[in-house]
Symmetry: C2
Subunit: 756 residues, 2 copies
């Protein structure tokens, strides 16, 4: 755990330059608007360690991958949302002295993410001038990024500032497999009012489209004295005179347009020109206000208030801020990358995290259409899922571990071939959407193609073990990626069985034309039923400190391991993924993230309390939570089991995972999809939110040290405000017709003017 920012309800602020933790600082101060985003790196030259990262949603590259010994079915590339051209770059000189905070004598440094207004503020004083910089990626005009400078004499003298503002297309992706640069320059121009560069991703051998990205910069203030142009960079040079006694401002605006929205290069360039002209008449205040208003609306809908614990309050707001910066449901072609626009690793691609963690949040805070759009994204990529299954010689649809277009673009066999449990989570999301919204139309329509082809995959992927008279699933990697190629992973088997069962149960309801398209035979359906009846689910009695317990077994030979609890091991081995060889990790009993417990997180009502308790008590002491997705699941389960202290401990870890750098990897980027977990821990955990038989259930408790928490919830055309304090739980109906909910076991009728 490492906390480099101050605790505050609405800001994330540091007064240290943190040159040793510069990358961590940059990750934490990322901005985004779904369309694009960037890490919090400085605009001006910084000669210390830094990771420049600017990304455009849906713009990716298939980075070829090769190891010596390729096997049939291995994917050929790793898909990544690549670092795009650097359009914030500025080389600044004060009276001829280059501003470089790694070298200069800096005073009054501050960096502060203002979550309420969605902007990054920075201030520092060098060479007698105080810089106050505000950066925003507009929530109102998706193509717009704006950097505003206030320059103020700090020593009572006038100063000359030279400002060389660039767009730099000479971009390095640190994780490029072959040290390739992924961008080429197609065109560039310096004009009187603006300059631009048009870039395109380089060719690839895999049929992935080449993306064109054009950035155009324009300015307010300063005096332009020239331009520079090199092969991959355009620069506009400005003189700014800072008066002795007052301040002067300067503003750089950037418009980014891409071939995702326009057909030809000419159109992409032209669109940027038009948009630039369109904002020319606007003042900075106009731009700022339009942006900040959007954020105000978001907070109005989705803010979670916590009283009595500012660290917890800051955590949930930071998480919602970064989640919304990554995805707010504006573009149906986009999904939610696990690191959003905050780093290279996981590269902005789509993972099962979306269905497992993000959809449950959007179902609670947004219109159902946002979730439906995320589901439709998977339907649109069904052909890719067919392709993936076929690559393994299997029927049906296999949704990929990592993708931009439906085709698997991860490149490790132990992930692509084996971590196939992901497929069931797509089916779970369909169930979840249908159960929470009550809208069956997607399941019965397009969703049927997704669901039943996933079921088809499972029916082909199991095998029959004659000596056990059971169906089994060998050779998988469960959610716990600290093991792989295991047999009969409880979670994988249980979920595969559930998918088949759910599919069989709903078969009569799906639309006739969907049925015709599926062309399922009676034999197929009969085999599905047989698999449901005879699926092997490993379970056993184990001895624990608190006596004998019956548990579900993570996989066939898990109990043969040396089961020393992680608490009994030396502290300095953690995180084990940074201290142990991969081999040792695989053989250890230590669990990266919830695995057997994951099914209980998805389907809390499908297991008895004793089952949940036994498994929680057995597995939790072996769990190292080195996946960002783990603590929230444990928090929710602990809350379910009335283990309030454990629930709160796990919430804190989930909520402040990045703020406190728990896993020592936030320097690489934020854990965007995991940020959903803190909302889930509050709503599903502390407030006990469930939907059973079309009715909303709440069973809240107030965490120790908190004096109050409150959140809004969208449910079937209603908006509720739930608040819990020491007096109890209150539910307000903010909008929608009257409805009955179950509050702590009692039916309660909510009407527009009722307050409970």
């Amino acid at each position: 755990m490492k906390r480099i920012f101050e605790v505050d309800p609405w800001t994330v602020t540091s007064h240290d330059l943190n040159s040793e933790d510069k990358r961590l600082q940059e990750s934490m101060t990322s901005l985004g608007n779904e369309y694009m985003g960037m890490r919090g790196m400085f605009e001006e030259v910084y000669s210390g360690d830094t990771h420049q990262g600017i990304y455009v949603g849906g713009v990716w590259f298939p980075d070829k991958t090769r190891v010596g010994w390729w096997k049939n079915g291995y994917p050929l590339y790793f898909g990544k949302a690549i670092n795009a051209l650097n359009y914030v770059k500025a080389d600044i000189y004060v009276d001829g002295n280059q501003v470089d905070l790694a070298k200069n004598d800096v005073t009054d440094f501050e960096v502060s993410l203002d979550m309420k207004n969605g902007v990054l503020n920075r201030a520092f004083t060098v060479f007698g001038v105080t810089f106050k910089i505000t950066r925003l990626v507009s929530a109102a005009v998706k193509e717009l990024a704006d950097i505003h400078y206030d320059l103020l004499s700090a020593d009572g003298q006038a100063h000359h500032v030279r400002f060389d503002a660039s767009i730099d297309a000479d971009v390095v992706n640190e994780d490029s497999n072959y040290d390739e640069k992924f961008w080429q320059v197609l065109d560039a121009g310096n004009g009187t009012n603006s300059s631009f560069i048009a870039t395109q991703t380089i060719e690839n051998a895999f049929g992935v489209p080449q993306f064109t990205v054009v950035a155009r910069q324009s300015f307010v203030g300063g005096e332009k004295h020239g331009v520079n142009r090199s092969e991959k960079e355009v620069t506009d040079n400005f003189d700014i005179e800072v008066p002795a006694k007052s301040s002067v401002s300067f503003e750089k605006r950037v418009i980014v347009t891409t071939s995702r929205d326009y057909d030809s290069l000419v159109q992409v360039i032209k669109a940027g020109e038009t948009l630039t002209a369109g904002i020319a008449a606007q003042t900075y205040d106009d731009i700022y206000t339009a942006h900040a208003q959007k954020w105000a609306q978001r907070w109005e809908k989705a803010d979670v208030q916590i009283e009595g614990d500012n660290a917890a309050q800051q955590g949930i707001r930071f998480n919602l801020f970064q989640l919304f910066s990554t995805y707010y449901g504006n573009d149906p072609r986009l999904n939610i990358g696990p690191k959003g626009f905050t780093g290279e690793k996981y590269g902005g691609a789509t993972y099962w995290d979306t269905e497992a963690f993000a959809i449950p949040v959007y179902l609670g805070v947004a219109d159902p259409s946002v979730t439906r759009s995320l589901l439709q994204y998977r339907f649109d990529q069904l052909d890719g899922a067919f392709h993936n299954a076929k690559e393994q010689g299997l029927k049906g649809a296999l949704y990929p571990m990592v993708t931009f277009d439906g085709i698997e673009s991860h490149n490790e066999w132990e992930i692509t071939f084996e971590e196939i449990h992901r497929n069931s989570t797509i089916a779970y999301a369909i169930y979840n959407y249908t159960n929470i919204t009550g809208d069956h139309s997607w399941l019965d329509g397009d969703g049927a193609q997704v669901l039943y082809n996933i079921a088809r995959f499972w029916a082909d992927r199991v095998h029959y073990s004659a000596r056990n008279d059971k169906y089994m699933i060998h050779g998988v990697t469960g959610p716990n990626e600290y093991e792989n190629n295991v047999n009969n992973n409880f979670y994988t088997n249980w979920m595969a069985k559930w998918v088949l069962q759910y599919s069989l149960e709903h078969y009569d309801e799906i639309n006739a034309d969907e049925k015709a398209k599926l062309a399922l035979t009676d034999d197929e359906l009969a085999k599905w039923q047989k698999i449901v009846d005879k699926m092997y689910l490993p379970e056993a009695d184990v001895e624990t400190k608190t006596g004998k317990k019956h548990i579900f077994v993570q996989h066939d030979t898990f109990l043969d391991k040396d089961l020393t609890p992680i608490a009994d091991m030396p502290q300095d081995i953690r995180p084990i993924n940074q201290n142990w060889s991969w081999d040792r990790i695989l053989r250890s009993p230590y669990i990266k993230q919830s695995d057997t417990l994951h099914a209980m997180f998805y389907f809390p009502d499908a297991f008895t309390e004793e089952e949940k308790r036994n498994n929680f008590e057995f597995y939790e002491p072996l769990t190292v939570h080195e996946s960002s997705l783990s603590p929230s699941v444990h928090s929710i389960l602990a809350a379910d089991l009335q283990m309030a202290d454990k629930a709160v401990e796990m919430y804190e870890r989930a909520a402040r995972l990045d703020l406190d750098n728990y896993n020592n990897d936030t320097a690489d980027g934020l854990h965007i999809t995991a940020m959903t977990g803190s909302w889930l821990a509050i709503v599903q955990g502390f407030a006990g939110m469930r939907v059973r038989d079309d009715k909303l259930h709440l069973k809240p408790f107030l965490p120790k040290n908190w004096t109050k928490y409150a959140f809004r919830l969208v449910f079937r055309g209603h908006v509720l405000e739930v608040s819990i304090d020491e007096q109890g739980a209150h539910v307000d109906l903010i909008s929608g017709e009257s409805l009955v909910i179950d509050l702590s076991g009692q039916d309660v009728m909510l009407t527009a003017d009722t307050l409970f």
Copy 2:
């Protein structure tokens, strides 16, 4: 199976150009002399598909490897014996027409490997000229390769032949991970009598030495009319006048010197000059005869004669020819690459194949010093083995899967981390050497450091399973690489136990200073004993077509698989490694090579006949033999079990694996280390050779269709000639004192003049 060469006892001949199987033809006609070697590609331009491959023993490069998600302990590169400069190249014009057999109208084509004399002959007629070409890589002067041309008018007309002879350093390694070229040119020169190029491997980031290789060409015959020189190539241009009625000859000699033998670039170049001058006075006949005599001596010692089956005869000779071409024990710094000098894959590195398969052959056909040198090679690399274990966080020594210098240079975790059974085979080789030669001095000296540090590794690698009260080994890949990350692989566990037991048994005998160096504590030794006592070895009763059988189980969950015998599967799925996804292969029960049976191959006397039979009958029907190392083991075990037909079937597959391209991969290169298997099948299988309690045992039978077979055997200072025909077995003592052997269960005294 694909047979493109004619069956003959002493040659491997084809009269077809085989343009579709050119690579296969090239692999099969490879030549080598341990110091260097090459594929059988044509010297002249060939515009069809071809794989140029010329290699120098011990000259390698660490080809960096990267995939997206690196884990702790993964090796950073794949070590490969890289393709060196092409010094056989010749561009030939007959009356101005370029010779290119892919395009010309060719008659009388023949390519023929003369195994008796160790040369490759080739003949063809184009543009009215018949070319007869003999190529040799000298067994007498290691640095020398010689290509001799006889040119004869085929149409009664005189012809002009232009001959541009080159050394070309612009070399491509087809398997280069990053499409890098691995060579740079340091120097080059064209002289009156000879030309040279000095090359060096490019820089690397891993501390691997850069090798300098210099090739110098000189000529006999023709009329030199010029030279060419480009950045990476030197060429000497000759005119050759072919008379109307008689023939003319031309000869190109190449001397290859390297920094492995000389310190400075100047010395490497100078040595080549000196050697070139040294052979200048020799005629081609001198060179040929000196070379052929060496081969005659080799055959005198090691030839295996088979009568009644020319295909079997050709097979064993081809295998011994290629094995000796790869390694003949001249250089203690070298080992035996699985593909020798015949292709890129497996790249001339050292594998456990040496200890498992090659050492048992060299123990039978060569002086014990050859084997001792191979053992010493491992002692010399002990530091690397310590390093490898440490990378995994383990004690002791872990010998690598692939190496040139002791450091692991394979790059797949499922191999490097998991296929650790290789470590035990190094210990087995020590036992084998000691048992067969009766020489304990290596085991008690340097060998102790190797053996006891391997034991130390195992003692740290096992874990204690409380619920079973057993020591276990999780997370391994057994010899059957068609599974990985399995638990309690019988072979791995059994061998680890054997290593610990053997180490404990011999502890009192090792030299005091070795003991001091090892510094084993009493606690360590006690723990080793405990592991020996409580090592888990999976076994079970299984139902088979021939009733219930008790077997050793390949690993914990093997019997839960769908165990359909491979014979009941469609033929078109084989080889499965070319037709199935890796995932499907891993989940299948099909075995690439002997696994459980492998222990019985190493230690035939440690298992009862019933154990051997039950396991053979259970596993053999699941075995696809897609490793070249598999058939011979099965042949030997089948012979042991008096299953003569099966033994012969498996022998044929082992002996003609490359000649008949059984696994459809010989185009990539020959299976050099597997070639030992055919000798083992004859000697340990058909002739039943064993050494028990310091006595040689033979229990021969004559395979059906064979009328006789005979071989020589080195045993403890004696040379025996064993011959078996329809009348029975005969053993001649060729040299050495009298000795008693066990022949088919009876003690027989052999004296110098006794014939049995």
